[in-house]
C-alpha cells in the first residue's frame, strides 16, 4: 500500500476507474454515443466518488478505536453499520442537527419578539425554477388533495359548492347567501308545504338551494324582482350545479318517503294480523265504544284512559304460584339446608375459611412468630384420622330437632303465660318474627304498626289497667342498662320474667322504629348481665326461667350477634379480671348459655374460645380449698366436655381436675403416683370417710356455693356425689376422646385412680357408687385395650420431598454482555427505567447545549452582519464626507488659485 494520503487517493481513484490512461478519440466518441451506458456510468462514478470521500475522511465515522469491549461469539451475525464496526456518523449527525435547527430554532429566533406578520402560503413564488405549468400543476394537485381530504361520502351538499380558495373579503368567504338580510326576505308561506319543519334549523346551503329552486320555477323571491341582468358565466355554472344538486336531493327525499311508508306498513301488520286471525276483540270494543258513543267529553275520556293505563301498569304480573310442597319435599329441603349448615360448621371446626363472607376475616391464628409454614390446613386424611367426620353422625337429624321451629317461641307453651292472653300473645308473636324473608310477616307489619299504634292497641285491649291478671304490664320502658332492668323487673315474679322479656321484644321490635334496633341491642346486653345477676341469687325453681331467658338471649343473638357476643365477652372479661379462680353460679349459668348459643365446635370463635379458656383456667389453676370448689370444677368439667361433644377436642385441664378430685376424695392418698398428673394435697376433711350409708345423688348448684357449713351427712352425700360425677365425667370423656392417639397414656391414670378408689375406700363408700366405679373401671380398661390394639406408629411426614437447592449457575444460551440478566424482575425494570432516564437526560442536555451553541453562533453571525453593514455604511458616509470635503478643498484651492491669478492679473 502506498504511503502518503495523496498516493492512496490516486490509487483508489484509479481502482474505481475514475481516472485512468487517456482514452483515444474514438473511444470517447463511442462512449458519448452510448447514452444509456453513459448515464449509468455517471451514477456509478458519483457513487464511487462518494465512497472514496467517505473512506478518506477519518472523522466521518465513529468507531471503537480499541476494538470491541468483549470478545463475543454469537449466532446472530451483525448487520449494517455494526458489521463494519461503525458506531455513528458524527459529521452527518451534526449536519442533520444543524439543518433541523436552521429550520426550527432559527425561524423561532427570528420570529421572537415579533407580533403578527404574514404567513406565506403561496407556493412556487420563491422558486424561480418552476415554470408556469409546474405552478398550475401544483395548484391543481393541492386542490385535489384538499377536496379529497374533507369529502364525506354521505355529504349531500358539500360536493363542490365552494370554489377552491374561494373569494374572500375581510377574511370571510364571499358567498351571497351569507348575510342575514336575506334570511328575512324568505317567506315561509311561499314555500311548498311539507318542508315547514325543516325551515328553522335549516342549513344556509339548503336555503340557498331552495331559493335556487324557486328561481328555477319562475316564482322568485322578492329580491329576484330586481331588474334582470345578463347572467354571468359564473351564474350559469352556479345554476347548473344547483340543478344537479336539486335532483340529487329529490331522489334522496323520494327514497326516504318510501322508507317511511314501508315502516308504517310494517308497524300496522300485527294489527292487521289480529284482524285477520282473531275474533275475540268485539267485546272489548263494545265496552269501550259506548263511552265514546255516549259522547263523553274528551277530558274525561283521557282521564279514564290514563287511570286504566296506570292500573294496568300497577297490576301484578302473572307469576306461577309456589307449588305446595309435599311432606317429603319439605323434609328434603330441610335436611338439605341442615346439611349445608352442618358442612359450614365442619369447616369452621377444622379452622378453614368459610367461603362466604361470614367468617371471612377469621383472625389469623397463631402468634406472629408462627409466620413460618402455614400450618392451618389439615388434609382430608388427617381429619378422618381425628374422627372429625363422625361429628355428623352424632348430630341429631332434622326431624329430631324439629327443624321448622327456627325461632320457636310462638309455639313454645311455657312462654305463653296463660290461656287468657293467648290471642294477644299470638299477636305479639307475629310481630316477633325475625325472619325478614317471610313475606307474610312483611305484609303484616308494613304500614300497619307503629310504636304508638301498637301501644294504643294494647291499651284498648285492656283499658282499665296496663297490667294483665298476673300483674305484668303490657308495655315497658326498654331497659338498656342492667340497673334499668332491675328497676323495670322489680315487681315481676321470677317465673313471669320471660313473658315480660317477650313483651319488651314485641313492643320494641326493630321494625317498629329505627331506634329500636339499638335499644334491643342494649337490652340484650343488659339481659345477659341480668341472667348472671339472677344466677348469683338463684333458687332451684328458677331454672326454667333462666333457661327461657337464655333462649331469649339466643334468639336475640340471631338478630344482634355482635351486641350479644359483646355482652358475653364483657362478662367473661370482667370475670377473668376480678375472680378467675372464684367463679359464681351466675358465671356458670352464663358459660352454659354461651355453650348453647354459639357453635362450640368452631376452631376459633370470638365468644366460645375465651369462655373455654376461662373454664380451662379455673380447672387448671384452681387448687380446691373446700368441697364447693370441687363441685364447681366438676360443673365446669361437664361443661367443657359438653363444649367438645362435637369437635372432640382434648382438654388437659379436665383430666387434671377430675383425677385430682378422685384422688383428693379417696380415703387415703395413693401410695405411688398414678401417672404424670400433678396432684394437690387436699385440704383437711375432704377425704371420704365412712360414707357407706349415704345414697347416691346428683350434684346441684347450691353445692357450688362456697362457705356453706354442712352437716356431716350432707358433706358425705356431697362427697359421694362428687366422686360419682367425676367418675362419670371421666367415663364420658373417655368415650368422647377414645380415638385420640395418646388415649392410652391419657386415661391410664384415670383407671389407676378409679381402681385406687375402689380398693382403698371400699369400706367408706356406698355400694351403689362402688358398683358404678367398677363399671367405669371396666369401661375404661376396655377402651384402653382398644386403644392399645388400634395404636399405630406415627407417619406424619409423607410430604413430597423438598427439592435440594441447586447451586449450579443458570446458563444463558444466547448471552449478550450488553443485556442485563437480573433475575429480580422489579429491580431489572427499575434499572432499565433508570438507564433510560439517564440517557434521555443526557440527550436532552446535549441538545440544549447544542441549541445554545447554535443560537450563540447565529447571534454572532447576525451581529457580525450588522456590524459589517454598519461599518460599510460608516465607511461610505466617511468616504462621502471625505469626498465632499475633498471636493470643497479642491474648490477652495481652485478659487484661491483663481483669485491669485486674478490678483496677479490685476497687478499686471
Amino acid at each position: 500500500m502506498p504511503g502518503s494520503q495523496l498516493k492512496r487517493l490516486k490509487a483508489s481513484l484509479k481502482d474505481q476507474g475514475i481516472i485512468g490512461p487517456q482514452q483515444s478519440k474514438k473511444q470517447r466518441r463511442k462512449n458519448a454515443q452510448d447514452q444509456k451506458a453513459n448515464s449509468d456510468k455517471r451514477l456509478q462514478r458519483s457513487e464511487a466518488l462518494e465512497s472514496i470521500r467517505e473512506q478518506f475522511n477519518p472523522f466521518q465515522f465513529k468507531t471503537n478505536a480499541r476494538g470491541p469491549k468483549f470478545e463475543v461469539t454469537t449466532n446472530r451475525p451483525l448487520t449494517g453499520n455494526a458489521a463494519k464496526g461503525i458506531n455513528g456518523r458524527p459529521g452527518l449527525a451534526k449536519s442533520v442537527g444543524e439543518q433541523r435547527r436552521r429550520e426550527t430554532l432559527l425561524v423561532e429566533m427570528q420570529r421572537r419578539n415579533k407580533v403578527g406578520g404574514i404567513v406565506d402560503r403561496r407556493f412556487g413564488e420563491s422558486d424561480p425554477t418552476m415554470t408556469l405549468e409546474d405552478k398550475m400543476m401544483e395548484r391543481f394537485a393541492r386542490e385535489q388533495q384538499r377536496s379529497h381530504k374533507k369529502s364525506g361520502i354521505f355529504d349531500l351538499e358539500d360536493d363542490d359548492d365552494e370554489p377552491i380558495e374561494g373569494l374572500t373579503h375581510g377574511g370571510k368567504a364571499l358567498t351571497f347567501d351569507q348575510n342575514a338580510a336575506l334570511k328575512d326576505d324568505f317567506d315561509d308561506e311561499d314555500l311548498p308545504s311539507g318542508e315547514e319543519s325543516e325551515d328553522d334549523g335549516m342549513h344556509p346551503d339548503r336555503k340557498r338551494l331552495k331559493r335556487l329552486r324557486l328561481t328555477d320555477a319562475g316564482e322568485g323571491p322578492p329580491e329576484d324582482e330586481q331588474p334582470d341582468r345578463k347572467k354571468s358565466k359564473k351564474d350559469i355554472y352556479e345554476e347548473i350545479i344547483a340543478k344537479s344538486k336539486l335532483h340529487k336531493y329529490e331522489r334522496q327525499a323520494a327514497k326516504e318517503d318510501d322508507n317511511d311508508l314501508r315502516m308504517e306498513l310494517d308497524q300496522e301488520l300485527p294489527e292487521l294480523q289480529d284482524l285477520l286471525f282473531s275474533r275475540k276483540k268485539p267485546e272489548a270494543k263494545g265496552a269501550e265504544s259506548p263511552v265514546i258513543i255516549a259522547g263523553v267529553d274528551k277530558v274525561t275520556l283521557d282521564k279514564d284512559y290514563d287511570v286504566r293505563v296506570k292500573k294496568l301498569a300497577m297490576d301484578k304480573r302473572a307469576a306461577p304460584t309456589e307449588r305446595t310442597k309435599t311432606e317429603e319435599e319439605k323434609a328434603e329441603e330441610a335436611s338439605k339446608r341442615l346439611k349445608e349448615l352442618e358442612e359450614k360448621r365442619l369447616r369452621r371446626m377444622r379452622g378453614e375459611d368459610v367461603s362466604e363472607d361470614e367468617e371471612e376475616e377469621k383472625p389469623k391464628r397463631g402468634k406472629a412468630d408462627t409466620a413460618g409454614p402455614d400450618v392451618e390446613i389439615l388434609d382430608a386424611t388427617d381429619v378422618d384420622e381425628f374422627g372429625l367426620g363422625k361429628g355428623i353422625r352424632l348430630r341429631p337429624t332434622a326431624t329430631e330437632l324439629g327443624f321448622d321451629d327456627e325461632d320457636d317461641f310462638e309455639i313454645d307453651d311455657d312462654l305463653v303465660a296463660s290461656g287468657s292472653e293467648l290471642e294477644f300473645d299470638e299477636d305479639d308473636d307475629m310481630e316477633e318474627y325475625e325472619d325478614d324473608s317471610d313475606p307474610e310477616d312483611d305484609e303484616f307489619t308494613k304500614g300497619l304498626l307503629s310504636e304508638v299504634e301498637s301501644k294504643n292497641r294494647v291499651f284498648q285491649a285492656n283499658p282499665s289497667s296496663g297490667d294483665d291478671k298476673d300483674g305484668i304490664p303490657y308495655t315497658f320502658d326498654c331497659p338498656e342498662t342492667h340497673v334499668d332492668m332491675i328497676r323495670v323487673f322489680q315487681g315481676i315474679d321470677m317465673t313471669k320474667l320471660p313473658v315480660a322479656v317477650q313483651r319488651i321484644r314485641a313492643v320494641y321490635h326493630p321494625k317498629l322504629d329505627s331506634r329500636n334496633k339499638e335499644r334491643l341491642g342494649n337490652f340484650s346486653q343488659a339481659l345477659i348481665q341480668h341472667v348472671a345477676f339472677l344466677g348469683d341469687r338463684f333458687e332451684p325453681h328458677w331454672f326454667p326461667t333462666l333457661e327461657a331467658l337464655c333462649r331469649h338471649i339466643h334468639s336475640l343473638a340471631k338478630t344482634f350477634p355482635i351486641e350479644v357476643s359483646k355482652g358475653y365477652r364483657a362478662h367473661i372479661e370482667e370475670m377473668e379480671r376480678e375472680r378467675p379462680l372464684a367463679l359464681t353460679v351466675g358465671d356458670l349459668i352464663l358459660l352454659t348459655a354461651v355453650g348453647t348459643a354459639f357453635p362450640t365446635s368452631d376452631h376459633f370463635h370470638q365468644v366460645v374460645t375465651p369462655a373455654m379458656l376461662a373454664i380451662g383456667r379455673f380447672l387448671g389453676q384452681k387448687i380446691p380449698k373446700e368441697l364447693a370448689d370441687y363441685a364447681m370444677g366438676t360443673y365446669l368439667s361437664i361443661l367443657a366436655l359438653q363444649y367438645q361433644q362435637l369437635s372432640k377436642r382434648y382438654v388437659p385441664e379436665l383430666m387434671n381436675f377430675s383425677l385430682n378430685t378422685l384422688c383428693s376424695l379417696a380415703h387415703e392418698k395413693p401410695k405411688e403416683a398414678i401417672g404424670l398428673v400433678p396432684l394437690h394435697e387436699p385440704p383437711a376433711g375432704v377425704r371420704v370417710k365412712g360414707a357407706n350409708k349415704t345414697t347416691l345423688r346428683k350434684l346441684n348448684c347450691p353445692d357450688c356455693q362456697p362457705g356453706r357449713s354442712l352437716s356431716p351427712e350432707d358433706e358425705d352425700s356431697l362427697k359421694v356425689a362428687l366422686i360419682s360425677t367425676a367418675a362419670t365425667v371421666l367415663k364420658t370423656a373417655a368415650e368422647t376422646w377414645h380415638t385420640m392417639p395418646a388415649f392410652y397414656e391419657t386415661f391410664q391414670p384415670a383407671v389407676r385412680a378409679v381402681q385406687h378408689l375402689t380398693t382403698t375406700s371400699k369400706s367408706h363408700l356406698p355400694a351403689a357408687l362402688l358398683s358404678k366405679l367398677a363399671d367405669t373401671a371396666t369401661a375404661l380398661s376396655r377402651l384402653l385395650q382398644l386403644a392399645h390394639i388400634s395404636r399405630r406408629p406415627l407417619e406424619l411426614h409423607h410430604h413430597k420431598p423438598l427439592a435440594i437447592k441447586s447451586v449450579i449457575p443458570k446458563f444463558e444460551d444466547s448471552f449478550d454482555p450488553n443485556k442485563h440478566y437480573d433475575p429480580d424482575r422489579e429491580r431489572a425494570e427499575m434499572a432499565k427505567l433508570r438507564n433510560e432516564h439517564k440517557k434521555e437526560r443526557k440527550g436532552a442536555m446535549r441538545e440544549l447545549r447544542k441549541d445554545a451553541a447554535f443560537m450563540a453562533r447565529e447571534n454572532l453571525r447576525v451581529k457580525k452582519e450588522k456590524d459589517a453593514a454598519y461599518e460599510k455604511k460608516y465607511k461610505r458616509l466617511v468616504a462621502e464626507i471625505q469626498g465632499e470635503e475633498g471636493h470643497a478643498a479642491n474648490q477652495y484651492a481652485r478659487e484661491k488659485e483663481q483669485r491669485k491669478k486674478k490678483r496677479e492679473n490685476a497687478r499686471r
Partner: protein, 547 residues
C-alpha cells in the same frame, strides 16, 4: 473528689453561704414558734463563736447537749447536729484534733478533750439513726464526719479510712429496722464508692462472724437484703476508681485490687450462708445466684456445696439451683456427675405447672443446645416432655412444641419419633394383630435407657386437637414439612392463661360471630320423656332442681 454528694469542705469554707442557708431555714421555721427561732439563732451564735476562738470550745458540749434531745426537740437536735458537723469538719481541717509532739500539755489536753467530744458526737449521730425522721440526715452528717476524720484525724499526709466508725455505722444500720435508711446507704454510698463498699463488706463479714448464731432472724434478713442490694460486681481493676475518701497513694493498696474486693464480698456472703438461710431466702439467693452473687466470688467453687445441695433437694429449689450450677459448670469447669440424668429427673409432673417454667426452659434450651448430645438422650427429653404436655396448661404446650421443632432440626435421628414406617410384613402383621405398646419407659431414671427414640409422639398429635386454637395450630407444626430453620423459643415462653385470654379479648369483634342455628329446647330442664330429644350431658349429670 468529684461527685461527692456531701462535700464537707465546701460547707466549712463558705461561711457566708451557710449563713444564708441558716437565714432561710430560720425563715422557714418562723411559724413554728419564736422559741425555736431563738434556739436556732443561739445555735448559730454558739457555732460561730467556736470557730472564732478556742475559748468557746465549751460551746461544743452545749451543742452536743442540744443534739441529744432528739426525741423532745427533733428540729433543734438536727440543727445542733448540723452545726456540730460543720464545726468538727472545720476543726479537723484546721488540725485542731491532731496531737503533735511539740504540743504543750495544755494543748494536748484540749486535743484530747476535743477527741472525746467527737466520739460523743458520733454516738449521738448513731443514736439518731433510730429515729425515723432524722435517720437520713444523720447518715449524711455521719458520712461527712467520716470523711473529715479520714482526711485530717491523723498527722499523716495520707488519709486513713476510719474503719471503726464505718463499722459502727454499718452495725447501726443493720440493727435498725428502717428499710429506707438501708436503701439510702446502699444507693448513695455503697453502690457509688468502691472504698465504702469494700469496708462495708468487711464490716458485715466481721459483724456476722462476731455475733455468729446469736443473730436473730430479722437482722439476718436485713443483712441479706443489704448484701442483695449490692450489685454490679466490677470486672477488672481499672473499674475501681470511685473513692469516697481520697484514694491511697500506695499502688499496692488492697483498695486497688479486685481480688481483695471480691474476697471481702465473698467473706460476707459466705458468713451469711454459713449462718443458714430460711427457705425463702434460699430461693431468693438461688434466683440471683448466677447474676449478682457468683460474680462477687473470687472462688465460686466455695458455692459448689451449697448449690449442689440445693440442686439435689428437688422441687423448685433444684429448678432454681440449676442456673447456679450451670454458672459453675460454665465458668469454673465444675464437673457435675450425671448432670443430664439429674436434669431429666427434674421433669416431674409439676414441672410444666411451675412458675419457674420459663426460666427452666431457657436453661434447658441451653443445655440441650449442643448438637453433639446423643440422640437417645434428646429423644428421652422430648418424649418425657410430651408426656407431661398431656396434662399441661396451654401456655406450657405452646412453649415446648417449637422447642421440639428446633431439637428435631438439630437431631434428625429423633425425627423417627414423628415418622416411622413399618418396613417388613411381619412387623405390620404383628401390629395388626396385637396393637402397639409405647416402648417408652416413663419410670426409667436414666435418660439413655428410656427407649424414647423407639417411641412416637402420639401425645403431641393428640394436642393438635387441643381446645385452644392457637395451641392446636402450634402443635401442628410437627406434622408439617420442616421448612423453617428454627423457631425462636424465647417468643413462646412467657404465656399464661391471663395473657392468652387478654390476647383474645383485645381483639375487637368486627365480624358478627356465628350463632348456633337451632335454639335448643332445653338447657337446664330435662326433655320430656317420649320425645326423641336427648338430654344434654349437663342435664343428665347435674341436678337443676327440676324433675
Amino acid at each position: 473528689m468529684p461527685g461527692a454528694t456531701v462535700d464537707a469542705g465546701d460547707k466549712s469554707t463558705s461561711k457566708r453561704k451557710r449563713q444564708e442557708n441558716g437565714d432561710q431555714s430560720k425563715k422557714r421555721r418562723k411559724s413554728t414558734g419564736d422559741e425555736e427561732i431563738e434556739r436556732q439563732s443561739q445555735i448559730q451564735t454558739l457555732e460561730s463563736q467556736i470557730l472564732e476562738s478556742k475559748k468557746h470550745y465549751n460551746n461544743i458540749a452545749t451543742l452536743i447537749g442540744y443534739s441529744e434531745k432528739q426525741i423532745q426537740e427533733p428540729v433543734t437536735a438536727l440543727a445542733a447536729a448540723e452545726s456540730l458537723c460543720r464545726v468538727f469538719v472545720q476543726l479537723l481541717a484546721l488540725g485542731s484534733l491532731v496531737r503533735r509532739k511539740d504540743m504543750s500539755e495544755k494543748d494536748a489536753t484540749i486535743v484530747l478533750w476535743l477527741r472525746e467530744r467527737l466520739a460523743e458526737y458520733k454516738t449521738v449521730l448513731l443514736s439518731m439513726f433510730q429515729s425515723k425522721s432524722l435517720a437520713l440526715k444523720a447518715l449524711l452528717l455521719a458520712m461527712a464526719v467520716l470523711k473529715g476524720e479520714a482526711l485530717h484525724l491523723d498527722d499523716r499526709d495520707e488519709p486513713t479510712f476510719p474503719r471503726s466508725f464505718l463499722y459502727d455505722i454499718v452495725n447501726t444500720i443493720i440493727m435498725s429496722p428502717d428499710g429506707q435508711l438501708r436503701e439510702e446507704f446502699s444507693d448513695k454510698f455503697v453502690d457509688e464508692y468502691d472504698d465504702i463498699r469494700f469496708y462495708t463488706f468487711q464490716a458485715i463479714g466481721d459483724f456476722l462472724t462476731q455475733h455468729g448464731q446469736s443473730i436473730d432472724e430479722g437482722v439476718r434478713n436485713r443483712v441479706f437484703e443489704m448484701l442483695l442490694s449490692i450489685e454490679d460486681a466490677p470486672t477488672s481493676n481499672s473499674e475501681l476508681e470511685d473513692f469516697f475518701i481520697d484514694p491511697p497513694k500506695k499502688k499496692k493498696h488492697p483498695l486497688y485490687s479486685l481480688s481483695q474486693h471480691k474476697k471481702q464480698a465473698q467473706e460476707a456472703w459466705l458468713s451469711l450462708i454459713r449462718l443458714g438461710l430460711s427457705k425463702d431466702q434460699r430461693k431468693k439467693v438461688l434466683e440471683v445466684m448466677a447474676t449478682s452473687i457468683a460474680p462477687w466470688f473470687s472462688k465460686p467453687e466455695l458455692l459448689m456445696d451449697f448449690l449442689t445441695d440445693c440442686y439435689d433437694a428437688g422441687g423448685s429449689a433444684s429448678l432454681l439451683a440449676l442456673s447456679g450450677v450451670f454458672y459453675l459448670i460454665r465458668e469454673r469447669n465444675l464437673d457435675y456427675p450425671s448432670f443430664y440424668a439429674k436434669l431429666y429427673s427434674l421433669l416431674d409432673a409439676d414441672m410444666l405447672h411451675s412458675k419457674h417454667r420459663s426460666r427452666f426452659f431457657r436453661l434447658l434450651d441451653t443445655f440441650l443446645g449442643s448438637s453433639h448430645l446423643p440422640a437417645v438422650l434428646v429423644a428421652s427429653f422430648i418424649k418425657r416432655l410430651s408426656r407431661l404436655a398431656l396434662n399441661a396448661p396451654p401456655s406450657a404446650i405452646v412453649a415446648i412444641v417449637p422447642w421440639f421443632y428446633n431439637l428435631f432440626k438439630k437431631h434428625p435421628l429423633c425425627t423417627f419419633m414423628m415418622h416411622r414406617e413399618m418396613r417388613t410384613k411381619e412387623e405390620k402383621d404383628l401390629i395388626e394383630s396385637e396393637g402397639l405398646a409405647d416402648p417408652f419407659l416413663p419410670d426409667e431414671q436414666d435418660p439413655m435407657e428410656t427407649h424414647a427414640i423407639d417411641s412416637c409422639l402420639w401425645e403431641i398429635v393428640q394436642l393438635q386437637s387441643h381446645y385452644h386454637p392457637n395451641v392446636a395450630t402450634i402443635a401442628k407444626i410437627i406434622s408439617e414439612q420442616f421448612t423453617k430453620q428454627a423457631y425462636s423459643v424465647e417468643d413462646f415462653l412467657d404465656h399464661s392463661y391471663g395473657s392468652l385470654l387478654e390476647a383474645e379479648m383485645t381483639k375487637n369483634i368486627k365480624k358478627a360471630p356465628v350463632v348456633e342455628f337451632t335454639i335448643p329446647k332445653h338447657i337446664f330442664t330435662k326433655a320430656q320423656s317420649g320425645t326423641e330429644e336427648n338430654d344434654s350431658l349437663l342435664v343428665s349429670l347435674w341436678d337443676f332442681g327440676s324433675s
